[in-house]
Subunit: 197 residues, 2 copies
DNA sequence: CGCTCGTTTGAGAGGACTCAAGGTAGGTGG
DNA sequence: CCACCTACCTTGAGTCCTCTCAAACGAGCG
């Protein structure tokens, strides 16, 4: 929980319903607003010409996103899209700065949140260092399991397309690699569902 | 300038001379210290088995590095190595927290510094999205020119190996791509020096 | 002058990507 | 309850191009 919802409302924050697949902002847009999820899911991603995309972050209930460009007054380097029906509170830029000013403990909160994001991004770099798709996939599966606290009997809750978008691989490559890994006993596939320990 | 040097000294910070190529910490080490460069250069990078490395950040006079793992109490995801003879002030973890506690404006400073780092890392992702080496190299050259404020008649002050380490490509691939680009007039190479506008 | 580090070039192999087409599963509506 | 639809998964064939390995050249510095 980045900022207490009562505070957001007090300062004039407006909650809005967002349908799955709707966009909050686009890569290159100027950053005018603070966004915080009441519930739902949002992903931040960059994209190339053609459909190739790279997921830079996923956010869920209570989390905020897109603050760094807002603080810096720079255009968004990513696009934000809802991956579920969601409810989002939006705040004007100056209001966000007012809250930061009035609540030092919130500022401190963001410091730690940002530290985590930097850390995650640095860890993710392991994916780009991996030379083979198998290594990349193992890295992302490990990260996912840790982050989402999945136990060993739980299927990985992401589609092959999503794994492709996390790793920058193509969907077919992910599928072929997963098949090979399952043949070699490194993972288990049951009814298209992925199990990784 | 992250933290005023007088403050660092007052709180017991110790300046140390570091020779080029010396290591400050290694990937996987626990984070016990705050590091700030008085002068010199340090790079943070991750590495694979084999010599493949990926530069995650470069730092120079007055900048600090490696704070996120320190704040979070997590092991370093990168290795830190001096790329020049340098002078570095080191501080114990608790002392760093004391300074943060005593100087709210320093805390605020870090908030913005972190925001910039997140922004830079997000922008860098464009490199991983690029499918061809040429695209990756153009992206990194553009970023370098902007960041280092190079004018158009200035050669790129990085070796081909370094460009390889920034982009995750192999040195030979960088060389061959640069040669092709120069043949196509996209860049100029004079006496092995690179010019890009 | 000789060392060291970076640059350059070549040949060859492996493998990711592209394009195309068909299969599967879960949800919706009649 | 079944047919349909959509989104996701799967497979195949072929091309391209990056990586690997090896060897030699160039430049800067003591």
């Amino acid at each position: 929980m980045q900022i207490n919802q009562d505070i957001l409302i007090t300062y004039g924050g407006i909650a809005k319903k967002i349908k799955k697949n709707e966009y909050l902002f686009w890569e290159g847009d100027p950053a005018y607003h603070y966004y915080q999820l009441v519930e739902g899911n949002v992903k931040l991603y960059s994209t190339n010409e053609s459909d190739k995309e790279l997921v830079q972050g996923t956010f869920t209930d209570g989390q905020s996103f897109g603050e760094p460009p807002l603080l810096l007054g720079l255009p968004y380097p990513c696009t934000a899209q809802a991956t579920k029906d969601s409810i989002i509170i939006r705040l004007r830029r100056e209001t966000f700065f007012n809250i930061l000013h009035d609540f030092p403990e919130i500022k401190e909160n963001f410091l730690y949140t940002f530290a985590e994001r930097i850390y995650t991004k640095a860890s993710f770099a392991q994916i780009w260092l991996a030379r083979t798709p198998e290594e990349k996939i193992i890295r992302i599966l490990t990260i996912i399991k840790e982050r989402d606290n999945l136990n060993n009997n739980c299927p990985i809750p992401y589609t092959r397309q999503e794994i492709a978008h996390f790793t920058g691989l193509r969907t077919e490559t992910v599928i072929r690699t997963l098949r090979r890994m399952s043949e070699e006993g490194k993972i288990v596939i049951k009814k298209h569902k992925l199990f990784y320990n």
